[in-house]
Symmetry: C3
Subunit: 308 residues, 3 copies
């Protein structure tokens, strides 16, 4: 990696992705070896939107590298309430930290903020924009469970609004993949995303309204939550949501090796009875956030050099 | 101790309790010796209800052992708002931490959660259920000030709703104690608790409405807050609360060696003029939360082996 | 320094101030040398009012010294809600920490609280009272940019309510300074502050309604925010605020060496076009909070001895 900031997964080449995943695998193999790698380093956390998983995962990653964090806290308790611009906020906080993590509700916020700071800035989600560290841990989980080449993946649920899904789909075009998108018609992938994906070599994409038509061919099924608030009518929601829920019966046609992923939190997209099967990889996926973010922090804090 | 989790003080034998208190005493004697004992260990904090004292005390304990914490933050800022189950939340967060501390408003939450995780889980209060680390620091404070055998203790205030009081009363049945319960009739111990206590050998219990009838015989007086919101009528509250307040005049009949405890925060159950007397042990009691929780974390993180 | 607590900058002599600034300069020169200076030390954070900058800056300072923090969290989630007194809260929390930082909305809170604790307590703002660590970082920034002797400084904006301004004005009387106060009439310095300042040797003070009358003579211009909520009438606010905004055109008459400071956050008192000029010292000023607070913590935790 030769980047100062991590803003979008689109900026990353296949070689970049593999560098990160390889480093994450090394760390996962021997976490103790990384425990003092960034002693005394401080990571600044700027979360302008609530987050449990992403924030705790970054915090854990930094502390597992021997460092610590300083947290801006909630927007309600911050100077933002007094009308401070994002540019000013990040310029102040970069004086406290060796790297910054930013989540912000506005698309483009991370890219803009990165122009004002000299320390590495990692985008932890910018509205409908990007969330590249989520994409990296998804890729890591796919590689560990099914491999990234010659992959057949189904991506199901809310494909219209889910930034996680768009980022993953783009990132997978670096590899030799067949991508199946399964959703109700009203929550299909945006047409511009479909168009972009069609331009890529080595990528085949198809869209479906029903899982059953494609389930048996899948190596990985990536499930996302369908948000009730997207639907004007509760009955409409109930009908749609029910068709995109996974339970043991749904899986009768699936390969024994099928890996099921979910960015979590889930509500009822995946029945608890799946948790105990070999298919379930979603808790492992959440846990993979730690070595993957350790790898990213390590590479950025070391100036892009894996110096060992 | 041979436990993976700490859910209730009822699970602890006299030997277990003494192991913890002995380790806490060692740590209190020489805190510096424990300062690097769990370097790099991370404690996950899951507080589904507000808490200052318990949370800060756990946080301090972990940091005094050389480790650090990762905090889920408030429920308002977490995935719980999105409908995630407690079982999912703890399964995700166990991937970040070497042990978990859980406070939850629902009785039984800690026991349920502990079935889903492989790392040690400590109950920091589950609604009207248990709060075993509070009990341990209460026992430690009693042992340091008055000894745990041949003890005459008065427990006063809100005995109906106070889980602190119930846990302590049960735990004391491991020792040779006389327990006096002092409260207005409407806030008496629940009958099933009285019944249980009566079944124990070596334990004598009696109930009183007035402190004066028993004060002179006490080694320890444990005062709890009577909560205004328990009373439908403000006048009723004022009358009752006034009768269970301690000041210098109240103590004229008390032994010079009487130790006064309180789980804090207090409102006006104990007059500030008591603070400067030898009787006052409530700030010491709060401070004892640190060595006691260090001892518990040390024992659980070391797999039940005091390996030194 | 021979103080146990830091409550007001008025308690500090010129020698005290220079001890702190000298130590801060040493730390800023070679931060790595301080990185393990207070390993295992814990700083208790008690912020009864929201704060981003001051809190993060203290937190960073402690962690840059190798220590860690324990944070009471917001008042809403604390025992304060249950009616606990400040005296009780600080007596409990001093059992967790090696030093305390207190911000409180009531003037005099820090002085009162300091009487109840044995560990060093640092005032991080007490209502309309004092904020001595802000004053120290202001002094440090002035010394680095313009020197503290033979200084001509303009202090502009809301001079009536700004505690930052009052503390700085008092502290500067330890040095040979000319102080110009520039504000609308309704936001002039309180008369008692003017009176006090007039009593000091080596200090000349003057008041102005317009910046232009004095701008060309200034070494430093310290700008503060005029708060909209001080004005009953929005038009009145707009008129006043507009006259106390700085842009490139305003600065035509200024010295090339003019240093512009601001305690931040700013709203529109200083145009962004100033940020790129040599005049702008406000981000540097915010960043100086770290070495200055490291110096203060180091001196207080070392018992007033700069022991190296």
């Amino acid at each position: 990696m030769r980047h100062d900031h991590l803003i979008t997964s689109k900026q990353l080449s296949r070689a970049d992705i593999e560098t990160v995943l390889d480093r994450a695998a090394e760390i996962a193999d021997d976490p103790a070896a990384a425990a003092d790698r960034h002693t005394n380093a401080l990571l600044g956390l700027l979360f302008f939107e609530p987050s449990t998983r992403t924030k705790m995962s970054f915090e854990t990653a930094m502390k597992r590298l021997g460092g610590n964090v300083v947290d801006m806290g909630s927007v309600e308790s911050s100077s933002v309430k007094k009308g401070e611009t994002l540019a000013d906020t990040v310029r102040v906080i970069e004086g406290y930290a060796d790297a910054l993590v930013l989540r912000h509700p506005k698309q483009g916020a991370a890219a803009m903020a990165s122009e004002f700071v000299d320390v590495p800035l990692l985008n932890a989600g910018d509205g409908a924009g990007h969330h590249p560290t989520q994409t990296m841990l998804d890729l890591y989980t796919i590689r560990e469970n099914a491999g990234l080449d010659d992959l057949t993946i189904g991506i199901m649920g809310d494909l219209k609004y889910g930034r996680t899904v768009h980022s993953l789909a783009y990132a997978l075009t670096n590899f030799d993949t067949r991508q199946h998108f399964i959703s109700p018609e009203s929550l299909q992938l945006p047409r511009e995303v479909v168009y972009d994906l069609h331009q890529q070599d080595d990528t085949q994409i198809r869209e479906h309204e029903a899982l059953e038509s494609v389930l048996s061919s899948l190596d990985v099924l990536y499930v996302t939550r369908i948000q009730r608030e997207r639907f004007p009518d509760e009955n409409e929601y109930q009908k749609v949501a029910g068709e995109y829920q996974i339970d043991l019966e749904t899986l009768e046609e699936a390969s024994d090796d099928l890996t099921i992923m979910h960015p979590l939190p889930r509500v009822d997209e995946i029945a608890p009875e799946i948790d105990e099967t070999e298919h379930a990889a979603y808790f492992e996926q959440a846990h993979n956030g730690v070595p993957v973010r350790m790898a990213l922090l390590d590479l950025l804090l070391s100036g892009g050099e894996a110096d060992e």
